[in-house]
Symmetry: D2
Subunit: 351 residues, 4 copies
């Protein structure tokens, strides 16, 4: 960390900063230039907030040299992390496709969808049972009943299930059912939830917040990793910008940027990042071409009847077509769809 003093900083102010750096357990490297005095603060700086020094008298600005996250950083873990999730892998050569409805609505809906997405080549089934809804008057999900239905769909198809968790009070019930926790965009900085999940060993799909920077996403991953749970996937799902022709703006740059900064797998959610079924396949292809390790996609047997997100849900046939296209792009990228697992017999131990 480098602390750049103001041009007219006094020797007393320089001394004050040096004392403060030492107090933080760091070593000092002083450089008195012609234009500015620079104080290097050396040591374990990733756990020291910049602000600790920014408000000291005479300080102009503070600049990190090393990243503020460590466990998530590729600097300290150069090889890709490859997660094993009930038969398929994420982060290696296989492209994972997770698919299913926004919300579990009924037994027939979820079973029908599970069978359809498995046939189309999905590696996992997604479905929400606790729904974060902008309006208190909107459908809030089936709760534990929904988890039962998802477990049934899993038994039927062999697909592991990915389910959003909204609060640490849901943890005890969810951990019994769920193969992958999804942390939604609105909870990316729900630090209590992140800590709680960090204490489990269930894989996590951590979605980027609507206006979260890439660095903040990595810091939130760091919360989970710091708890000892290192099975974290990061998910770009679109950010909020001024453009209104789509629900969000897919930050496609985030894919190569994340692959550069971190060893964790990177997933794209083209359903939320566009908000329109018409645009999902194009953006899904783009994501894989940009280097994403997988996709999470909303599929509904009858989008017009969906209680939520119908506008952005693919019908099963459209999803099957998308998977085919994505598979071709994956091949160009020297990868392949993680389809095999989708056809293995129902996994054991869940009955």
């Amino acid at each position: 960390m480098m602390i750049i003093m103001k041009v007219n900083a006094t020797p007393q102010q320089v001394e004050g900063v040096i004392a403060s750096v030492k107090e933080a357990g760091l070593n000092v490297h002083l450089s008195q230039g012609v234009e500015a005095t620079i104080i290097g603060a050396i040591g374990e700086t990733h756990n020291i907030p910049l602000e600790r020094f920014e408000s000291l008298d005479g300080v102009d600005l503070v600049q990190r040299i090393t990243q503020p996250y460590k466990l998530a950083s590729r600097q300290f873990h150069p090889e890709n992390t490859i997660l094993n999730i009930d038969g398929f892998t994420v982060g290696g050569d296989e492209i994972a496709v997770m698919a299913g409805p926004c919300a579990v609505e009924s037994r027939s809906q979820i079973i029908e969808t599970a069978i359809a997405v498995k046939e189309a080549g999905a590696s996992a089934l997604r479905g929400g049972v606790f729904k974060p809804r902008t309006s208190p008057y909107a459908f809030q999900g089936l709760g534990e009943e929904g988890l039962e239905l998802l477990a049934e769909a899993r038994e039927e198809t062999g697909l592991p299930i990915v389910v959003e968790i909204m609060s640490q009070v849901q943890l005890d019930v969810m951990v019994k059912y769920v193969d992958v926790f999804q942390v939604g965009a609105r909870n990316m900085q729900n630090f209590n939830l992140l800590r709680a999940i960090g204490e489990t060993r269930t894989p996590v799909l951590l979605k980027r917040g609507l206006s979260a920077s890439i660095e903040e996403l990595l810091m939130s991953a760091e919360y989970i990793l710091a708890g000892g749970n290192n099975r974290v996937m990061l998910c770009e799902r679109g950010i909020r910008t001024f453009e209104t022709s789509t629900r969000n703006t897919t930050d496609i740059n985030a894919i190569p940027v994340l692959k550069n900064l971190t060893h964790l797998p990177v997933i794209l959610d083209p359903s939320h990042s566009t908000g329109h079924a018409n645009y999902v396949a194009a953006v899904a292809r783009a994501g894989i071409a940009a280097g994403a390790d997988g996709l999470i996609v909303e599929v509904h047997p009858d989008p017009a009847k969906a209680v939520s997100d119908g506008k952005q849900s693919l019908k099963p046939e459209a999803f099957a077509e998308m998977v085919k296209q994505v598979g071709q792009i994956a091949q160009v990228m020297g990868r392949g769809l993680a389809v095999s697992s989708a056809y293995q017999p129902a996994k054991q131990g869940w009955a």
Copy 2:
């Protein structure tokens, strides 16, 4: 709610939408224009998501006529809501100034600050004990010990205390101590937390999310109101934009827009909305001139030593000067600082 059909929508599609509107418990008003068929959906539409109709075949777009929030809306509650909070009021002629450190750090720090802000004219003391920090390695707050210290500062000064709550699991302990719950920007859409707070009768300061629209802020307020807790203040605290010369961008427009849309009191947080102590007073004055009902401001006896947010914290003298300026602006606005309560004897019933 108006559902505008595509130019080439078929009669079957129009029938389908009509059936769907009726199924939602709404009445239909059909208008077949030259360019477009419009289906009016009439009744209690505020609790029906637009998306319910958006994904139906043949639909071009769906437009609300009435707002999606009801309890928060000025349409149904034209007069200002005036909250009584332990001796002072918010939302009427009095301008409330809540002030204190970002985090409670020690007994001496919080007591000293409480006395200083009271002398300067503050109506309430703020201080965090559970801190939402971007980094898992940063100071996370003193927890219940901090609440004890805040209670002590309250007894000393008579100032009610405003404290951030991050999770519904903190509710039981916090409700025993706290006069006003603060819901932070990162939790504005933590719907479980909002619901839980809606079941208490403790006043709430609800902060706007970093990238939340004004409508979403009102929808989050609706969650709390729908639970029966109608003592909600809304807080503009800056939004995230491309501009980097300040920490956030103060959306000063939000003040008159909110005052127009809702009867709830509107507070400005110039500390977070600017991120620099130098700019706090100017933006505080602007907020009151724009019609805000109060301010929440970070004050620290020694910002350079603050464990968090030192850069944006005012020293007590600077805060006193700010209060003076704000008081003069308040007078032009036909209002006055809620100073009286700050000098009343320590309130009873808290021992």
Copy 3:
């Protein structure tokens, strides 16, 4: 266009709006619903600003049904426009790759680059001679001398040249040299320039502004089309958002959205949309996978010595590798690189 009256609008106000609609040369379709009166304004509405009706007494909101652009719209021109540019095409099955330095710096630099990008498979040579620079103290381009050098590079390689125009006063000199005008992001709403270009018959690459909506980009294209110049390509080059890890945010959604809304070819500029040479290939692949018709890429023989944009410029070898990858993606998309023309003999007629 539909004009929705306020719930409590008076009959006089409704009459006033009706009169105003008729005055604008439009027909009226009146629908008096239970909740709201809606006035349909029917006719050639694309050239009538919404604001004409928005400020009338009693009006709640005005909603377009048809798009505000007409010549650019796919509604009135369903097939793709395929432009012929000196031997290659854009908008059909061929993927055009335009490449070259940010600025023409010297004879050797531009000739060397032209040969390298041609060999790598580029279809056109880009190079700036009038440079829009944030700082008045930065290099502003070689001017007409640069045009001479570009013409020489064209003769040498047979590649048509794409050059940015910044002002209508440059038109007379540029029209003599240039095969494709580039209109930069900062000039997307320089309406005088758009009009002037509309009067030429030179093809145009129109870049999206830093914070321009997709609709505004189409409206700017409409300016050029309305002048009679229908050889317009649209270019996504990244938008400005809060994310700072890349120079801009590539709005990959814009590719399928534009392909849906307009018949004009859509180009992606992954150099400006990322700002980092490291990320250019990934985003270029994504663009073609999302359906873009071409790319415009910065290439420099020695980026470290480039007078501008060195950070985002590819070395010729990296560019050649990118073209190879893009070609493979194009194949999956049922398309191919427009390589053929790059090998044809120098074009005639340029003295």
Copy 4:
């Protein structure tokens, strides 16, 4: 300027950067720290783009210590610049209020408005004759005829006139009529126009671009100042964000930030920054309370009939009320409205 080398930069790379710094005419101060080597580049760095060093091998990041603008900077010009504009001043104790219609529409409209705004206390008359319109089909202004009408209104009222210039080709005709050039948001980075205006001695109101950073606004001012025209006012007019309840987001922070960074006067345009007549007065008050030196406000005798921007235009009575309120805020700020000039006899020399 500090160039921070990568942790693993080689001695050769350090040498390369040093050579490059010297080549740029700067002196070198080398600091070899434990974590990083830092190369200070000392001298006239404001006219050297960062990118010159950013793309050199081994460079991690480049950080300015001094600002990239010099003439606009308060560092080199600590006192406020006070502009004299035909009888009133801007930047000192007087608050300037410029007001008038978006566009000059007719003789009666502009004369009527001029008289009304003068009576209400305006110091100058604004009115557009060349209009930047998103749609090529919208009214584009009266051109020189409009300038004649403005001159007539000036003679009638004694108010100097503020008129937008869109292109350097309009300069010759405009310079004969206009007291203050307005450069619109869409032209803030039309560098050819800025240079041309820099060669005149007419005062300029330079508006911030829709997505321009504060630093970019100052760099655009630098273009004009570098030409020798030092009569520049900066104007905050709202930036583009995700919030849609107002036309733009007033960046109120920009007022104190600009007053801190530059000696130039700072004006607020609450009409464009809100887009709604209802919110103009509140935001105007806020601007003055935040320290702005003046306002530019749209006023129209009959907003419902305005050919453009009717929605955000104040009626004369509402404007008069706004001026009164603003005057009271100005007094609290120790300032006063620049009303005197508005009542002086018509200025001479314009016949």
